[in-house]
Protein backbone atom coordinates (compact mmCIF):
# COMPACT_ATOMS: atom_id res chain seq x y z
CA UNK A 1 0.00 0.00 0.00
CA UNK A 2 1.78 3.12 -1.15
CA UNK A 3 -0.10 6.41 -0.80
CA UNK A 4 2.90 8.66 -1.34
CA UNK A 5 3.05 10.61 -4.59
CA UNK A 6 6.02 12.55 -5.85
CA UNK A 7 4.28 15.85 -6.35
CA UNK A 8 1.03 17.60 -7.18
CA UNK A 9 1.24 16.85 -10.90
CA UNK A 10 1.34 13.12 -10.19
CA UNK A 11 -1.34 13.29 -7.51
CA UNK A 12 -3.90 15.05 -9.73
CA UNK A 13 -2.99 13.23 -12.95
CA UNK A 14 -6.37 11.50 -13.36
CA UNK A 15 -8.54 14.54 -12.74
CA UNK A 16 -10.19 15.12 -16.08
CA UNK A 17 -12.47 17.68 -17.72
CA UNK A 18 -15.84 17.94 -16.04
CA UNK A 19 -14.68 16.53 -12.69
CA UNK A 20 -16.37 17.49 -9.42
CA UNK A 21 -13.67 18.46 -6.94
CA UNK A 22 -13.70 19.72 -3.38
CA UNK A 23 -10.98 22.14 -2.35
CA UNK A 24 -10.20 22.82 1.31
CA UNK A 25 -9.46 26.21 2.82
CA UNK A 26 -11.20 29.29 4.17
CA UNK A 27 -10.33 32.38 2.18
CA UNK A 28 -6.68 31.81 1.32
CA UNK A 29 -6.03 30.07 4.63
CA UNK A 30 -5.23 26.37 4.35
CA UNK A 31 -5.74 26.08 0.60
CA UNK A 32 -4.02 23.33 -1.43
CA UNK A 33 -1.67 25.67 -3.26
CA UNK A 34 0.41 23.01 -5.00
CA UNK A 35 -2.59 21.15 -6.40
CA UNK A 36 -4.24 24.33 -7.63
CA UNK A 37 -1.05 25.22 -9.49
CA UNK A 38 -0.95 21.70 -10.95
CA UNK A 39 -4.59 21.92 -12.07
CA UNK A 40 -3.85 25.21 -13.80
CA UNK A 41 -0.81 23.65 -15.49
CA UNK A 42 -2.79 20.59 -16.56
CA UNK A 43 -5.43 22.86 -18.03
CA UNK A 44 -8.31 20.61 -17.01
CA UNK A 45 -11.63 22.34 -17.80
CA UNK A 46 -15.33 22.39 -16.95
CA UNK A 47 -14.63 21.77 -13.29
CA UNK A 48 -17.26 21.91 -10.60
CA UNK A 49 -15.49 23.23 -7.53
CA UNK A 50 -16.92 22.82 -4.05
CA UNK A 51 -15.03 25.28 -1.91
CA UNK A 52 -16.08 27.76 0.76
CA UNK A 53 -14.53 30.62 -1.22
CA UNK A 54 -13.27 31.24 -4.73
CA UNK A 55 -9.87 32.72 -3.93
CA UNK A 56 -8.78 36.15 -5.10
CA UNK A 57 -8.05 37.30 -8.64
CA UNK A 58 -4.47 36.09 -8.71
CA UNK A 59 -4.35 33.39 -6.06
CA UNK A 60 -6.13 30.25 -4.96
CA UNK A 61 -9.10 29.19 -7.06
CA UNK A 62 -8.88 32.59 -8.73
CA UNK A 63 -6.05 31.11 -10.79
CA UNK A 64 -8.40 28.45 -12.16
CA UNK A 65 -11.05 31.07 -12.85
CA UNK A 66 -8.57 33.20 -14.79
CA UNK A 67 -7.93 30.25 -17.09
CA UNK A 68 -11.70 29.63 -17.40
CA UNK A 69 -11.29 26.12 -16.07
CA UNK A 70 -14.31 26.33 -13.77
CA UNK A 71 -17.85 25.64 -14.93
CA UNK A 72 -19.53 25.88 -11.55
CA UNK A 73 -18.66 27.05 -8.06
CA UNK A 74 -20.48 25.72 -4.98
CA UNK A 75 -19.50 28.11 -2.20
CA UNK A 76 -20.78 30.16 0.73
CA UNK A 77 -18.93 33.39 -0.01
CA UNK A 78 -17.32 34.53 -3.23
CA UNK A 79 -16.56 38.21 -2.67
CA UNK A 80 -13.46 40.14 -3.66
CA UNK A 81 -12.78 38.65 -7.06
CA UNK A 82 -13.22 40.79 -10.16
CA UNK A 83 -12.72 38.03 -12.74
CA UNK A 84 -15.21 35.89 -10.86
CA UNK A 85 -17.75 38.70 -11.01
CA UNK A 86 -17.19 39.21 -14.71
CA UNK A 87 -17.69 35.52 -15.53
CA UNK A 88 -20.74 35.32 -13.31
CA UNK A 89 -22.42 38.36 -14.89
CA UNK A 90 -21.56 37.16 -18.41
CA UNK A 91 -23.07 33.77 -17.69
CA UNK A 92 -19.82 31.89 -18.26
CA UNK A 93 -19.82 30.68 -14.67
CA UNK A 94 -22.54 29.01 -12.64
CA UNK A 95 -22.63 29.69 -8.92
CA UNK A 96 -24.55 27.89 -6.20
CA UNK A 97 -24.39 29.72 -2.91
CA UNK A 98 -25.14 27.76 0.23
CA UNK A 99 -24.76 28.60 3.90
CA UNK A 100 -21.30 27.94 5.30
CA UNK A 101 -22.48 25.56 8.01
CA UNK A 102 -24.55 23.68 5.46
CA UNK A 103 -21.51 23.38 3.20
CA UNK A 104 -19.43 22.04 6.08
CA UNK A 105 -22.09 19.63 7.28
CA UNK A 106 -22.82 18.26 3.81
CA UNK A 107 -19.12 17.36 3.59
CA UNK A 108 -19.23 15.77 7.01
CA UNK A 109 -22.36 13.83 6.12
CA UNK A 110 -20.54 12.29 3.15
CA UNK A 111 -17.63 11.30 5.37
CA UNK A 112 -19.97 9.75 7.92
CA UNK A 113 -22.08 7.88 5.36
CA UNK A 114 -25.17 9.89 6.24
CA UNK A 115 -27.18 10.57 3.08
CA UNK A 116 -28.82 13.74 4.38
CA UNK A 117 -28.85 16.07 7.36
CA UNK A 118 -31.26 18.61 8.82
CA UNK A 119 -30.30 22.20 9.45
CA UNK A 120 -32.33 25.31 10.21
CA UNK A 121 -29.97 27.49 8.14
CA UNK A 122 -31.84 29.07 5.27
CA UNK A 123 -35.36 28.29 6.44
CA UNK A 124 -37.70 30.97 5.11
CA UNK A 125 -35.11 32.27 2.66
CA UNK A 126 -34.47 31.67 -1.03
CA UNK A 127 -32.02 28.94 -0.02
CA UNK A 128 -35.06 26.88 1.01
CA UNK A 129 -36.71 27.04 -2.39
CA UNK A 130 -37.38 23.54 -3.70
CA UNK A 131 -36.08 21.90 -0.57
CA UNK A 132 -37.92 19.60 1.77
CA UNK A 133 -38.61 21.09 5.18
CA UNK A 134 -39.53 19.31 8.37
CA UNK A 135 -40.42 20.37 11.87
CA UNK A 136 -38.69 18.88 14.90
CA UNK A 137 -39.61 20.07 18.40
CA UNK A 138 -41.44 23.08 16.99
CA UNK A 139 -38.54 24.31 14.86
CA UNK A 140 -38.33 24.11 11.11
CA UNK A 141 -35.35 22.49 9.36
CA UNK A 142 -34.23 21.99 5.78
CA UNK A 143 -33.12 18.60 4.58
CA UNK A 144 -29.78 18.89 2.82
CA UNK A 145 -28.00 16.07 1.00
CA UNK A 146 -24.49 14.79 1.52
CA UNK A 147 -22.08 15.90 -1.18
CA UNK A 148 -20.96 13.44 -3.79
CA UNK A 149 -17.55 14.47 -5.09
CA UNK A 150 -15.06 12.42 -7.07
CA UNK A 151 -12.02 14.20 -5.69
CA UNK A 152 -11.24 16.06 -2.51
CA UNK A 153 -8.06 18.09 -2.44
CA UNK A 154 -6.92 19.22 0.98
CA UNK A 155 -3.96 20.88 2.62
CA UNK A 156 -2.59 19.76 5.98
CA UNK A 157 0.29 20.81 8.17
CA UNK A 158 1.74 17.37 8.79
CA UNK A 159 0.95 14.02 7.30
CA UNK A 160 2.40 10.52 7.43
CA UNK A 161 2.93 7.75 4.93
CA UNK A 162 -0.38 6.13 5.93
CA UNK A 163 -2.29 9.33 5.13
CA UNK A 164 -2.92 10.50 8.70
CA UNK A 165 -3.22 14.29 8.78
CA UNK A 166 -2.78 17.10 11.31
CA UNK A 167 -3.83 20.66 10.55
CA UNK A 168 -2.54 23.92 11.99
CA UNK A 169 -4.71 26.52 13.69
CA UNK A 170 -7.55 27.91 11.57
CA UNK A 171 -6.02 26.40 8.45
CA UNK A 172 -7.99 23.33 9.55
CA UNK A 173 -11.42 24.76 8.54
CA UNK A 174 -12.97 22.66 5.73
CA UNK A 175 -9.93 20.46 5.13
CA UNK A 176 -10.75 17.52 7.44
CA UNK A 177 -14.38 17.57 6.28
CA UNK A 178 -13.53 17.45 2.60
CA UNK A 179 -10.83 14.87 3.28
CA UNK A 180 -13.61 12.61 4.58
CA UNK A 181 -15.93 13.37 1.70
CA UNK A 182 -13.95 12.64 -1.44
CA UNK A 183 -14.16 9.31 -3.23
CA UNK A 184 -10.47 9.94 -3.87
CA UNK A 185 -8.81 12.26 -1.39
CA UNK A 186 -5.53 13.97 -2.22
CA UNK A 187 -3.65 15.61 0.63
CA UNK A 188 -0.75 17.98 0.26
CA UNK A 189 1.19 18.57 3.45
CA UNK A 190 3.89 20.93 4.59
CA UNK A 191 5.75 18.09 6.23
CA UNK A 192 5.50 14.42 5.27
CA UNK A 193 6.79 12.02 7.92
CA UNK A 194 7.08 8.22 8.18
CA UNK A 195 4.21 6.20 9.63
CA UNK A 196 4.60 6.24 13.40
CA UNK A 197 6.09 9.72 13.63
CA UNK A 198 2.78 11.38 14.53
CA UNK A 199 1.09 10.92 17.90
CA UNK A 200 -1.95 8.67 17.25
CA UNK A 201 -3.92 10.68 19.84
CA UNK A 202 -3.47 13.82 17.81
CA UNK A 203 -4.53 12.79 14.31
CA UNK A 204 -7.26 15.03 12.87
CA UNK A 205 -7.93 12.95 9.75
CA UNK A 206 -7.33 9.20 10.02
CA UNK A 207 -5.48 7.81 7.02
CA UNK A 208 -8.39 5.62 5.93
CA UNK A 209 -9.87 8.74 4.34
CA UNK A 210 -6.71 9.73 2.45
CA UNK A 211 -5.70 8.01 -0.75
CA UNK A 212 -2.78 10.11 -1.97
CA UNK A 213 -0.34 12.28 -0.08
CA UNK A 214 2.67 14.36 -1.02
CA UNK A 215 4.87 16.98 0.52
CA UNK A 216 4.11 20.34 -1.05
CA UNK A 217 6.66 22.96 -2.01
CA UNK A 218 7.08 26.72 -1.90
CA UNK A 219 4.00 27.56 0.15
CA UNK A 220 3.23 31.23 -0.26
CA UNK A 221 0.47 31.27 2.39
CA UNK A 222 -0.76 34.63 1.28
CA UNK A 223 -2.57 36.75 3.87
CA UNK A 224 -5.84 38.23 2.62
CA UNK A 225 -6.42 40.85 5.31
CA UNK A 226 -3.22 41.67 7.11
CA UNK A 227 -4.40 43.34 10.30
CA UNK A 228 -2.21 44.35 13.20
CA UNK A 229 -2.73 45.79 16.65
CA UNK A 230 -2.67 49.53 17.05
CA UNK A 231 0.35 50.33 19.19
Amino acid sequence: MNKIYANANEAIKDITDGAVIMLGGFGLCGIPENCITALVKKGVKQLTCISNNAGVDDFGIGLLLQQKQVKKMISSYVGENAEFERQLLSGELEVELIPQGTLATRCMAAGYGMPAIYTPAGVGTEVAIGKETREFNGKEYLMEYAFDAEFAIVKAWKGDADGNLIYKETARNFNPLMAMAGKITIAEVEELVPAGALDPNQIHTPGIYVHRIFEGKNYEKRIEQRTVRKQ
Binding site: F26, G30, S76, Q100, G101, P120, T170, P176, T227
Partner: protein, 219 residues
Protein backbone atom coordinates in the same frame (compact mmCIF):
# COMPACT_ATOMS: atom_id res chain seq x y z
CA UNK B 1 -26.51 63.14 19.73
CA UNK B 2 -26.28 60.05 17.59
CA UNK B 3 -23.75 57.45 18.70
CA UNK B 4 -20.52 56.76 16.86
CA UNK B 5 -19.95 53.23 15.65
CA UNK B 6 -17.59 52.77 18.58
CA UNK B 7 -20.37 53.80 20.96
CA UNK B 8 -22.84 51.38 19.35
CA UNK B 9 -20.30 48.65 20.04
CA UNK B 10 -19.81 49.96 23.57
CA UNK B 11 -23.54 49.86 24.25
CA UNK B 12 -23.81 46.30 22.93
CA UNK B 13 -20.90 45.26 25.14
CA UNK B 14 -23.12 46.08 28.13
CA UNK B 15 -25.23 43.06 27.16
CA UNK B 16 -22.32 40.69 27.76
CA UNK B 17 -22.38 38.48 30.83
CA UNK B 18 -19.70 36.49 32.58
CA UNK B 19 -19.11 33.17 30.90
CA UNK B 20 -20.72 34.13 27.59
CA UNK B 21 -19.52 32.55 24.38
CA UNK B 22 -19.98 35.22 21.72
CA UNK B 23 -19.78 35.34 17.94
CA UNK B 24 -19.12 38.81 16.55
CA UNK B 25 -19.79 39.56 12.89
CA UNK B 26 -17.81 41.79 10.59
CA UNK B 27 -17.97 45.61 10.92
CA UNK B 28 -19.43 47.29 14.02
CA UNK B 29 -19.85 43.92 15.80
CA UNK B 30 -16.08 43.33 15.67
CA UNK B 31 -15.60 46.51 17.70
CA UNK B 32 -17.61 45.04 20.60
CA UNK B 33 -14.49 43.06 21.57
CA UNK B 34 -12.83 46.33 22.58
CA UNK B 35 -15.44 47.07 25.25
CA UNK B 36 -15.86 43.83 27.17
CA UNK B 37 -16.64 44.99 30.74
CA UNK B 38 -13.89 44.47 33.29
CA UNK B 39 -14.25 41.56 35.64
CA UNK B 40 -16.16 39.27 33.31
CA UNK B 41 -14.87 36.48 31.12
CA UNK B 42 -16.19 36.34 27.58
CA UNK B 43 -14.92 33.86 25.01
CA UNK B 44 -15.06 34.91 21.36
CA UNK B 45 -15.96 32.30 18.76
CA UNK B 46 -14.78 32.68 15.18
CA UNK B 47 -16.86 30.48 12.92
CA UNK B 48 -13.89 29.47 10.76
CA UNK B 49 -12.80 27.31 13.67
CA UNK B 50 -11.64 29.01 16.85
CA UNK B 51 -12.82 29.55 20.40
CA UNK B 52 -10.78 32.09 22.32
CA UNK B 53 -10.00 34.70 19.71
CA UNK B 54 -7.56 37.35 20.89
CA UNK B 55 -6.70 40.81 19.53
CA UNK B 56 -4.94 41.49 16.24
CA UNK B 57 -1.26 40.49 16.31
CA UNK B 58 1.58 42.91 16.81
CA UNK B 59 3.25 44.11 13.63
CA UNK B 60 5.50 41.32 12.33
CA UNK B 61 3.70 38.61 14.30
CA UNK B 62 1.01 37.90 11.70
CA UNK B 63 0.39 34.18 11.10
CA UNK B 64 -1.23 33.20 7.78
CA UNK B 65 -2.69 30.08 9.39
CA UNK B 66 -4.48 32.09 12.07
CA UNK B 67 -7.31 34.25 10.79
CA UNK B 68 -10.85 35.17 11.78
CA UNK B 69 -14.03 34.85 9.75
CA UNK B 70 -13.29 38.24 8.17
CA UNK B 71 -9.96 36.80 6.94
CA UNK B 72 -8.07 39.17 9.26
CA UNK B 73 -4.93 38.03 11.04
CA UNK B 74 -5.63 37.46 14.73
CA UNK B 75 -4.18 35.88 17.86
CA UNK B 76 -5.44 33.40 20.43
CA UNK B 77 -5.92 33.76 24.18
CA UNK B 78 -5.00 31.14 26.81
CA UNK B 79 -7.57 28.35 26.75
CA UNK B 80 -8.29 28.64 23.04
CA UNK B 81 -9.19 25.67 20.85
CA UNK B 82 -9.20 25.08 17.11
CA UNK B 83 -11.72 22.87 15.34
CA UNK B 84 -13.15 22.25 11.90
CA UNK B 85 -15.99 24.17 10.26
CA UNK B 86 -18.60 21.47 10.88
CA UNK B 87 -17.98 21.42 14.62
CA UNK B 88 -17.92 25.22 14.58
CA UNK B 89 -21.39 25.41 13.11
CA UNK B 90 -22.37 22.40 15.18
CA UNK B 91 -21.81 24.30 18.41
CA UNK B 92 -23.66 27.26 16.92
CA UNK B 93 -26.57 25.06 15.83
CA UNK B 94 -26.69 23.33 19.21
CA UNK B 95 -27.19 26.68 20.91
CA UNK B 96 -23.86 26.67 22.75
CA UNK B 97 -23.02 30.20 21.58
CA UNK B 98 -24.77 32.59 23.99
CA UNK B 99 -24.82 35.71 21.87
CA UNK B 100 -24.38 36.59 18.23
CA UNK B 101 -23.85 40.18 17.13
CA UNK B 102 -24.11 40.99 13.46
CA UNK B 103 -24.78 43.77 11.03
CA UNK B 104 -27.82 44.05 8.79
CA UNK B 105 -29.12 45.86 5.76
CA UNK B 106 -32.71 45.59 6.99
CA UNK B 107 -34.56 44.33 10.05
CA UNK B 108 -38.33 43.95 10.20
CA UNK B 109 -40.54 44.49 13.23
CA UNK B 110 -41.15 40.74 13.50
CA UNK B 111 -37.44 39.94 13.74
CA UNK B 112 -36.64 39.07 10.14
CA UNK B 113 -33.22 40.07 8.90
CA UNK B 114 -31.72 40.73 5.47
CA UNK B 115 -27.97 41.13 5.21
CA UNK B 116 -26.56 39.02 2.41
CA UNK B 117 -27.78 39.99 -0.99
CA UNK B 118 -28.87 42.96 -3.07
CA UNK B 119 -30.51 41.62 -6.23
CA UNK B 120 -29.05 43.04 -9.40
CA UNK B 121 -25.82 43.96 -7.67
CA UNK B 122 -22.94 41.63 -6.94
CA UNK B 123 -23.87 38.72 -4.73
CA UNK B 124 -21.02 37.80 -2.45
CA UNK B 125 -22.83 35.04 -0.59
CA UNK B 126 -24.23 34.50 2.85
CA UNK B 127 -21.11 32.98 4.38
CA UNK B 128 -22.07 31.82 7.86
CA UNK B 129 -24.82 34.41 8.38
CA UNK B 130 -27.76 32.11 7.64
CA UNK B 131 -26.44 29.45 9.99
CA UNK B 132 -25.87 31.99 12.73
CA UNK B 133 -29.27 33.65 12.55
CA UNK B 134 -31.10 30.34 12.27
CA UNK B 135 -29.47 28.92 15.37
CA UNK B 136 -28.31 31.61 17.75
CA UNK B 137 -30.22 31.82 21.04
CA UNK B 138 -29.76 35.56 21.19
CA UNK B 139 -29.09 37.80 18.23
CA UNK B 140 -28.33 41.49 18.50
CA UNK B 141 -28.15 43.50 15.30
CA UNK B 142 -25.71 46.40 15.23
CA UNK B 143 -26.45 48.83 12.43
CA UNK B 144 -27.22 52.40 11.46
CA UNK B 145 -30.86 53.35 11.83
CA UNK B 146 -31.11 54.54 8.23
CA UNK B 147 -29.32 53.80 4.98
CA UNK B 148 -27.12 56.34 3.18
CA UNK B 149 -30.22 57.68 1.41
CA UNK B 150 -31.83 58.39 4.79
CA UNK B 151 -34.37 55.58 4.49
CA UNK B 152 -35.24 53.58 7.57
CA UNK B 153 -33.63 50.14 7.93
CA UNK B 154 -36.19 49.16 10.62
CA UNK B 155 -39.09 48.11 8.46
CA UNK B 156 -42.54 46.55 8.60
CA UNK B 157 -41.19 43.98 6.12
CA UNK B 158 -37.75 43.41 4.70
CA UNK B 159 -37.55 44.29 1.00
CA UNK B 160 -34.26 42.48 0.39
CA UNK B 161 -33.86 38.68 0.31
CA UNK B 162 -34.00 37.36 3.84
CA UNK B 163 -31.12 35.87 5.77
CA UNK B 164 -33.46 34.49 8.43
CA UNK B 165 -36.93 34.78 9.85
CA UNK B 166 -38.12 35.72 13.35
CA UNK B 167 -34.65 35.56 14.79
CA UNK B 168 -33.46 39.04 15.79
CA UNK B 169 -33.99 39.78 19.49
CA UNK B 170 -32.54 43.27 19.81
CA UNK B 171 -31.32 46.09 17.60
CA UNK B 172 -28.78 48.73 18.60
CA UNK B 173 -28.39 51.70 16.27
CA UNK B 174 -26.78 55.12 16.56
CA UNK B 175 -30.14 56.38 17.85
CA UNK B 176 -31.73 53.68 19.95
CA UNK B 177 -31.85 50.30 21.64
CA UNK B 178 -34.92 48.33 20.61
CA UNK B 179 -36.24 44.91 21.51
CA UNK B 180 -38.18 42.86 18.98
CA UNK B 181 -41.48 41.86 20.60
CA UNK B 182 -44.59 40.20 19.25
CA UNK B 183 -46.01 43.75 18.96
CA UNK B 184 -43.04 45.13 17.02
CA UNK B 185 -39.98 47.21 17.88
CA UNK B 186 -40.10 48.23 21.54
CA UNK B 187 -37.99 51.30 22.25
CA UNK B 188 -35.85 50.67 25.35
CA UNK B 189 -33.28 53.44 25.31
CA UNK B 190 -32.45 56.59 23.37
CA UNK B 191 -28.99 57.83 22.44
CA UNK B 192 -28.09 60.78 24.67
CA UNK B 193 -29.96 63.85 23.41
CA UNK B 194 -31.91 61.99 20.74
CA UNK B 195 -35.68 62.44 21.01
CA UNK B 196 -38.32 59.76 20.82
CA UNK B 197 -39.85 61.69 17.97
CA UNK B 198 -36.68 61.49 15.90
CA UNK B 199 -36.53 57.73 16.48
CA UNK B 200 -40.21 57.43 15.55
CA UNK B 201 -39.62 59.40 12.39
CA UNK B 202 -36.75 57.18 11.34
CA UNK B 203 -38.43 53.85 12.17
CA UNK B 204 -40.68 52.60 9.37
CA UNK B 205 -41.74 49.42 11.18
CA UNK B 206 -44.17 49.32 14.07
CA UNK B 207 -42.65 51.11 17.06
CA UNK B 208 -43.81 50.93 20.66
CA UNK B 209 -42.51 53.74 22.85
CA UNK B 210 -44.32 53.60 26.15
CA UNK B 211 -43.64 55.69 29.24
CA UNK B 212 -40.42 57.49 29.87
CA UNK B 213 -37.66 56.20 27.58
CA UNK B 214 -34.30 56.54 29.34
CA UNK B 215 -31.07 57.65 27.70
CA UNK B 216 -28.31 55.09 27.23
CA UNK B 217 -25.64 55.18 29.90
CA UNK B 218 -21.92 54.87 29.20
CA UNK B 219 -19.19 54.53 31.78
Amino acid sequence: MALTKEQIAQRIAQELQDGFYVNLGIGIPTLVANYIPEGIDVVLQSENGLLGMGPFPEEGKEDADLINAGKQTITTVPGSAFFDSALSFGMIRAGKVDLTVLGAMEVSDNGNIANWKIPGKMVKGMGGAMDLVASAKNIIVAMMHTNPKGESKLLPNCTLPLTGKHCVKKVVTELAVLDITPEGFRLLERAPGVTVDEIKAKTAGKLIAEGDIPEMKFN
